[in-house]
Structures are given as structure tokens and as C-alpha cells.
Subunit: 336 residues, 2 copies
């Protein structure tokens, strides 16, 4: 894989980005990295530039930039240059920890949609509570409005990801809804239900309520982007809030609680790691002409390393070309 | 208050219902209870029938009944008789732990909407993580589709609840959205934002993302019912999942973890109580002509007791008459 890396995105850039990249490079010498960003600052943290090229730029997109405007006006920003290199065929995929909206805009407007896909969707990875598995949720927020056919396309995209990258033979696809019965939902989910049910290539397992989001009933859960974003953030908020409550309860619980916490440390760490493992990788914009991968703004080297591995898996599994083929055939069917 | 109680709804009915009712009666002799249900089974658990009347019926609505159909066909079900008594002015409010959909249908079709309100909304109470407060979310799922004006009405309804029942002078009203900036959202939230902003009677604090649902930024958060239902269930699912993960981590952590858990028991109990306190009361259907209050199906006597207190507070605070007045004036304004 040839990977375009926005070295300047994220809270700990470029240090954590460089460290994650070096770890991935040391692991797999088939990956060619190009880091876009401030060369001097990148070299401060770079030990060895084997397989790592640097394209210098002073411009950056930050968290406060208005996404679409930033992509159009900051032509030399590290993220835009990285996306342009993918568009030009110099690189196979783009990785960034920067402004999510701007990265989505770069994916849509610089790299571009796959023909036949009306709305690319952002896919997040979440833990399954009852086993070691994970569940993918899409659209996790790329689109504020969704039609039933978009939800069906998310299912097709997620199906390719689960088959090609997660190596699940018959991925279970669920529909996020407000009840488990087939007739439940709003107009969008009711119609999407029928589209999913009638697609023989999809192993549709029915409606999933959001209290079952993490229960492992499905490998891929499709949702409109507004609701997907809302449930993703409420899972995050609840988990963080509970950790912080527990910490306060321990702090105010005297010596007894502190000793208890010390003894329970490995169990608590296990729980924390389950909820927020660096191994889950990043969020992926599916439906564009190359993998566009976003790691959390607060990512440290370890999550960056795993997110690069995830990106490498997508490229090596030919996921995007497979998706392109599928939608070309679909378009042909419709035209004939 | 004269309270109509569906004695047969919920997993532990009628026992827990009777116990909760007796506790509330012992606490406040101004409440007159009428229990609808199987008299013989109710009397098995009833110690003293002071202020408690029983209207016997053999018919019940269960969790598998299709809500609207059940309300229309099971005319003698405990829930329907209880709702009818409120409609007929014999009682001031209805309480049930039974089938949520059926209770909503009973509220809408038996008790009826307040004039001027197009869509009554279901209001849930959730904990605030950082202090002892709570936050109300509505619509938590009474309606699968919502228009901007419905969200505005939820804000008006929530505002009355917070002022009259929670005694908050200027309740902070937030809008559940996919970003904090004013322009964020889908068409519904973007338009609702403007309606809330332009209502001088509402202390609108702007958009709330669902990771801030429990952070105390607002006293009342309004949402379309589909998303509100989804975030409510994802908070519940995440909290339950984390408790169960922690339990497993302790169980598999050997003696060390077990001793740690024993020492930490009060802190863990504090956390559990925070996430699911019986004191939070029940979900309330706001916008109908009387308080329609639903406690969780798994409620024990204690939550039933607190939910009855909450209902009593609504009745004594004249919440519904205040709402009726407001919407009558609004209707007059529109007509003049």
C-alpha cells in the first residue's frame, strides 16, 4: 500500500502520527508512506525515514475550520495535499486524525464518490459487549438526511467491508430502529427494511434497537447518519461518564475504596480497554474511490498503528475495486 | 390527587404495584387510589385498604398486545378502565408499569390530546453525571416522525414540567443535535433551532450533542421521537453492558479481584444507583389532558412509590391546567 498521511491532524500531531507510522513501517515493509506536513517538525520525531517520504507544507486545517470552505480555500493544507495525491493515483488511501468534517469533504470533493453511490457513509467500529468481537455502525454521521436507498447502500458497503476486511463469510446486517418488529420505525426505516429484506446478497437479520447496538446481534448496523451519530456519541458519553463517576466514587470512598480500586485495577483496565481499544481502528468513509480513514483526534501512536493496519487490510483486500465493480454492474442493470 | 392505577401491568404485578401504592398511601393521606385489576390477586398483597378502592376486572393488556388494537378491543382491560376513569373525570391521573405502546395509545385515544397540541411527547428522566441533578428528554419515543413545530411544542411542555414540578425558575432547554453550532443538523433540527431561539418564553441554551446528554448542560432536551428513543436506549444498553462487563472481569479476576470488588461495593452501588435510581420516577406522556405516567416494566415497589410521588407533584402543581391555558391562548392568538 502507498499511504498518504496527514501528519498535522490531531491533538498530538505530528509526534503521535510519526510514532504510529514508524511502528507500522517497522512491522510491514510493503507500505510506502508519504507524510504531508511541516517537514522540520516531522523530522524532530522521525528516527528513520526508510519507506517514509515527506512532502512539506506550512498550511494546516484545524478543528475550528468550516469543513467544505477549508478544503476549497486551503489548497496547500496537509490534508488537502494528501487527498489530492490519492485523487492523482500517487497514493492508495488517506489517513488523518484531523477535522472530521474536513476529511469527509476531502473524501467527497477531492477523491470523489464511486459511480452509483449517492451518499458515502462514515463507518465506526464499536465493541461487542458479550464477546471479543466488534460491530460496525454506518452511517455514523457523514449525512444529516438519509433516504431508504441510502441505508440500503450503506448495507452493501458494510457488507463488502465485513467480507473483505473482517473476513466474515456471511456478515449479519441489522437495521437500527425503534423496535424489533418488522413494521416498526419511521418512513425511512420502514422502507429500508423492505429493501434490505429483498436483497438476496445481504444476510439481513432485521431491526436492532440501540440498547442492542453492542450486543453482537449484527456485524454491521445501518442507520441514517443523524441517528447513527447520536447513538455513537451517546455510547461514548455514557461510557466516559460512568468511568468518571466511578473514579469520583472511589476518590470519595476513603481508604477502603482506594484499596479496593487498587486490587480491581486489572479488571477496571480490562473494562476500559474493551470500551475504547486502540485496536478498533478508525472511522472509514465508505463509498469514495479510495479508503479515507479517520482516527480520533486524541489518538496516540498505538491507535494510529492499528488504524494504519486496518487501512492496509482494506487496500490489500481490494475492497474499493470490489465495491466499484458491484455498483458498475448495478448501474448497468438499471440502464439495460 | 385521585390516582387510577393499572394494577396488572409490569413484571411483578400486582405485588410490587400494591406495595408501592401502600407505601405512597402511608406517606400521604390526601391521595385516593383506585386500583384496576384482579381483585383477588390484589387483595393477596394488600395489607390495608384505607384510601384504596379496587375495581375488579379479569382482562389485561400484556407486552405482546398490539397497542392501538388492544386499547380498542380489550375494553375491560385494567389499563383501559383506568384511562377511561380519567377521561370521565373520576380520577386525575393514570399510572401503569404495563405495555408502553398501549399506555401511550390509551393516553392519546382514551384521555385525549390537549387542544392545540399536535403530538404529545413521552418524557424520560435521566441522571446528570456531574451533580445530583436530572435531565428530561422528550420525545423519548411516542412519535416516529416529528416536525420542527412538534419539537417546539415539546420544549413548551418540558418547560412547564421543569417549572411546575421540578421548581426550576428558568429551565435550560436544549435541542438534541449532531453538532453544537447553530447551523448544524438536519432540516427538522435546523428549523426547530430557529423556533426555539425566537420563543422569548423559553430559555434556549442551543444544540446539545448526545455525548453531552448527561452532562447537565440543559434541564430539558428536546428531540424528535425516533432519535430520542435511540439515544435513551443506547444510554441504557451501554450502562447495562458495562456493569455486566465489570461483573465478568471481577468473576474472572481471581481472589484479588473479588476482594477488590468487596471493598469497592459501596462505590459500585453508588454508581449503579446513579445510573438507575428509583427516585427518577417514570416516563410521562406530556400533551394529553391528564398525567399519563409509565414506570419501567421491571419496577419494584420503591420506584413505583417515587413515580406516584412524581405524579402527585404534577397534579398538585396544576401542570396540565397550566399547559391547557397556554395552548388555549396560543390558539386564540392564531385565530385573531
Amino acid at each position: 500500500m502507498k499511504l498518504a498521511v496527514d501528519a498535522m491532524g490531531g491533538d498530538f500531531a505530528p509526534q503521535s502520527v510519526v510514532e504510529g507510522v514508524e511502528r507500522a513501517r517497522n512491522d510491514d515493509n510493503t507500505i510506502q508512506f508519504t507524510l504531508y506536513g511541516d517537514e522540520k517538525r516531522i523530522r524532530e520525531f522521525l528516527n528513520d525515514d526508510t519507506n517514509i517520504a515527506i512532502v512539506h507544507t506550512d498550511e494546516e486545517i484545524d478543528g475550528n475550520d468550516e469543513p467544505v470552505k477549508a478544503i476549497r480555500s486551503k489548497k496547500n493544507a496537509s490534508m488537502v495535499l494528501a487527498a489530492q495525491s490519492v485523487k492523482d493515483g500517487e497514493n492508495d488511501a488517506i489517513f488523518s486524525c484531523g477535522n472530521t468534517g474536513a476529511l469527509l469533504a476531502a473524501g467527497l470533493f477531492v477523491i470523489g464518490r464511486i459511480k452509483g453511490i449517492s451518499r458515502p457513509g462514515l463507518m465506526a467500529t464499536l465493541p461487542v459487549m458479550s464477546n471479543d468481537g466488534t460491530v460496525n455502525l454506518l452511517d455514523a454521521g457523514a449525512n444529516a438526511e438519509s433516504k431508504p436507498e441510502h441505508l440500503h447502500q450503506y448495507a452493501v458497503l458494510g457488507n463488502y467491508y465485513a467480507k473483505n476486511v473482517r473476513h466474515i463469510e456471511k456478515p449479519k446486517i441489522g437495521l437500527l430502529n425503534n423496535g424489533s418488529e418488522p413494521h416498526k420505525g419511521n418512513k425511512v426505516t420502514q422502507e429500508a427494511y423492505q429493501l434490505l429484506l429483498n436483497d438476496p446478497e445481504i444476510n439481513f437479520v432485521g431491526n436492532i434497537e440501540s440498547n442492542d447496538l453492542l450486543s453482537g446481534k449484527a456485524d454491521i448496523i445501518v442507520s441514517d447518519g443523524f441517528t447513527g451519530n447520536a447513538v455513537l456519541k451517546s455510547v461514548e458519553g455514557t461510557a466516559l461518564g460512568m468511568f468518571s463517576l466511578l473514579k469520583n466514587a472511589i476518590m470519595s470512598g476513603g481508604l477502603r475504596a482506594k484499596i479496593g480500586a487498587l486490587l480491581l485495577k486489572p479488571s477496571l483496565k480490562q473494562l476500559k480497554n474493551k470500551m475504547d481499544s486502540p485496536k478498533y481502528g478508525g472511522a472509514v468513509l465508505l463509498g469514495v474511490k479510495a479508503p479515507v480513514v479517520k482516527a480520533h483526534g486524541s489518538s496516540k501512536a498505538e491507535s494510529i498503528y492499528y488504524t494504519i493496519k486496518q487501512t492496509n487490510d482494506m487496500v490489500n483486500a481490494n475492497m474499493v475495486p470490489n465495491i466499484v465493480d458491484y455498483f458498475e454492474k448495478e448501474t448497468d442493470k438499471t440502464q439495460n
